[in-house]
């Protein structure tokens, strides 16, 4: 396939990446005032909080004024489950997605057709930043379904003008067959799944570097620069980091570019702030803190100052690619205890809820994370107490099976359950160490 000049084939949507800074700020302010007004008119929780502070939408006269507005946090979505934060009537909501909540229930996110178009635009810009263009053959191995990854990347790739192959996740041998036989030039997946694909390709004697595959678009979980270098060397591709979260829209919130240093935030669509997680104050630009995002163009479920719990900082130097939209550093860590397994967000509290459902009480437990052949494995070790111990092997096996089933329902992925003896799990003086992460960092 002839290589075309990426600049010549850049989609129209990407023009917004290069807006002159003052035009960008004017656009952001205009959109911010509009969305704050919309949330004030239509979202009870937001209006109540604004009124409690003696604020009205007029309070936002400039971008820094946003700092006076109340935050939105993940528990707000849990507390208003399922539709309490909607700003559009259901008749205008054309899509619902769901993602991991901190308890058994997921959090629900909604989109109008306009919201889907914005999301698609953000994904087009993401793919373009990752070096994809019209005519690329894109294999989408993000999971299709309630999670936003699959459909988000899918619509973006189609709108870009690529040929899209919706393989979704799993079925590795079939993924490799598609990769090899369909002339795939770019692939979307979690980074750990791609490692798994590479491993399997090696076993099958397929040399990925020989294939037309040029680009990997990897997100949904944290991964290191070391991992990127390894993927690029072995896969013969350029590997790009992308960032997103369902509460904001899904994938397409930020993306690496050809420079591969930090991720450009599509800040004309998602306005970023970085705050001190303890005090809530906005930190000086360049300093590390918690990323807070405001959806500037999201109608069905606007998010005003949503605390992502991801820790990062702005990169203040201009990027060599010429984009004026600011970059953030690779996400360093989180402020909460959430961890990610095979691209899925998991909270220890979800594990606790599952154990409680089965046993009625909460024994000591621990979550062990390991990586085998590139795939994340999660094991939950649960101490056997007098209440649940039975003299019958069958009853203990049933207990193990019921726990595994409850866990699967609660977190959405399969985790192994291991029953252990009392005191097998180390007691700690302070906060319990719920998660032992032995995966390579």
């Amino acid at each position: 396939m002839a290589r075309t000049n990426p600049a010549a084939t850049a989609p129209a949507a990407s023009a917004a990446d290069y807006l002159p800074p003052d035009a960008l700020r004017r656009l952001q302010l205009e959109r911010l005032q509009r969305i704050v007004r919309r949330a004030w008119d239509r979202v009870d929780l937001f209006r109540t909080r604004m009124e409690a502070r003696g604020l009205t939408p007029e309070a936002v006269g400039s971008l820094p004024d946003l700092a006076a507005l109340p935050f939105t946090v993940k528990t707000d979505l849990r507390d208003t489950y399922p539709f309490g934060l909607f700003a559009s009537p259901m008749s205008e909501v054309v899509r619902l997605h769901a993602s991991s909540g901190t308890t058994g229930k997921p959090i629900v996110v909604a989109y109008t057709q306009g919201d889907l178009d914005v999301w698609t635009e953000a994904m087009v810009r993401t793919l373009a930043a990752c070096g994809c263009h019209k005519g690329d053959v894109i294999q989408n191995a993000y999971g299709y379904g309630l999670f936003t990854g699959g459909l988000g990347a899918h619509y973006g790739a189609e709108a870009l003008g690529a040929t899209v192959i919706p393989t979704s996740g799993g079925q590795t041998d079939r993924q490799l067959m598609v990769l090899k036989d369909f002339g795939v030039t770019a692939i979307c997946s979690t980074p750990s799944y791609f490692l798994h694909l590479m491993e399997r390709a090696r076993e099958m004697g397929i040399d990925l570097a020989d294939l037309p595959l040029r680009v990997g678009i990897f997100g949904a979980e944290p991964w290191t620069d070391a991992m990127r270098i390894r993927i690029e060397a072995e896969g013969g591709i350029k590997a790009y980091d992308i960032y997103g979260l369902s509460e904001i829209t899904g994938p397409g919130v930020a993306s690496a570019c050809a420079q591969q240093e930090g991720l450009h935030l599509f800040e004309d669509l998602f306005y970023p702030e970085i705050i001190d997680p303890e005090t809530g104050h906005v930190v000086p630009e360049g300093q590390e803190g918690e990323l807070v995002l405001t959806t500037l163009c999201k109608w069905a479920m606007p998010m005003i100052r949503y605390r992502t719990r991801d820790i990062t900082s702005f990169i203040t130097e201009p990027c060599g690619c010429g984009r004026t939209i600011r970059r953030i550093r690779r996400i360093a860590r989180r402020t909460d205890d959430m961890f990610i397994v095979r691209g899925v967000n998991v909270f220890p509290s979800q594990v606790e809820a599952a154990i409680l459902t089965v046993e009625g009480t909460l024994p000591h437990y621990q979550i062990l994370l390991e990586q085998r052949e590139g795939l994340d494995q999660m094991e939950v070790q649960i101490e056997v107490t007098r209440d649940v111990f039975s003299d019958k092997i069958r009853a203990m096996e049933d207990l193990q099976r019921n726990l595994a089933h409850a866990l699967h329902s609660s977190i959405g992925i399969r985790a192994a359950v291991r029953l252990v003896e009392p005191h097998a799990i180390e007691r700690s003086m302070g906060k319990a160490r719920r998660v032992i992460d032995r995966r390579p960092q």
Binding site: T385, R386, F389, S390, D391, K392, M396, L419, E421, P422
Partner: protein, 146 residues
């Protein structure tokens, strides 16, 4: 009539079996019978000791999780067919056996069979009616020790 058997949960790892046995030994508790049922990941150690209350306390002190189960011990002639005869009786009466284990007592040429029945009282009534010897806890101690 019913014997109090102790059950201990063990992870299927080296050294786990030794710990409860050592704890009992250190406390001077004799083990009369022992059986170990295992799965891939864990096992259930079943023990009969002379004083089940004391045995339970010692094991719990050592950090084990312990159950007490009522089991029924019978004594049969130690010859081929000794087990088959009694099993036939139990089966004909439709009594469900959860598990069992056995050991020989050479001095008296008897075999002791330990059963966990779903309904131990019904089982004892049946066995006695059919002329089988149901072993009292104290007799078990006699039979097992020289």
């Amino acid at each position: 009539m019913k014997i109090h058997q102790l059950s201990v949960f063990l992870e299927n790892k080296p050294g786990r079996l030794g710990e409860p046995c050592q704890a009992l030994a250190d406390a001077g508790v004799t083990i009369l019978t022992l059986s170990l049922a295992e799965t891939n990941q864990f096992g259930i150690l079943r023990l009969i000791v002379p004083d089940s209350e004391k045995g339970k306390a010692v094991l719990e002190q050592a950090g084990c999780v312990v159950n007490v189960t009522e089991v029924v011990a019978t004594s049969v002639a130690n010859r081929p067919g000794g087990l088959a005869d009694i099993l036939q009786v139990i089966e004909d009466a439709g009594i469900n056996v959860e598990y069992m284990y056995a050991f020989s007592v050479r001095r008296q040429d008897r075999a002791v069979l330990v059963f966990r029945f779903d309904d131990p009282d019904a089982a004892i009534a049946l066995l006695q009616a059919k002329g089988f010897h149901v072993v009292e806890p104290v007799q078990l101690l006699d039979q097992a020790t020289e």
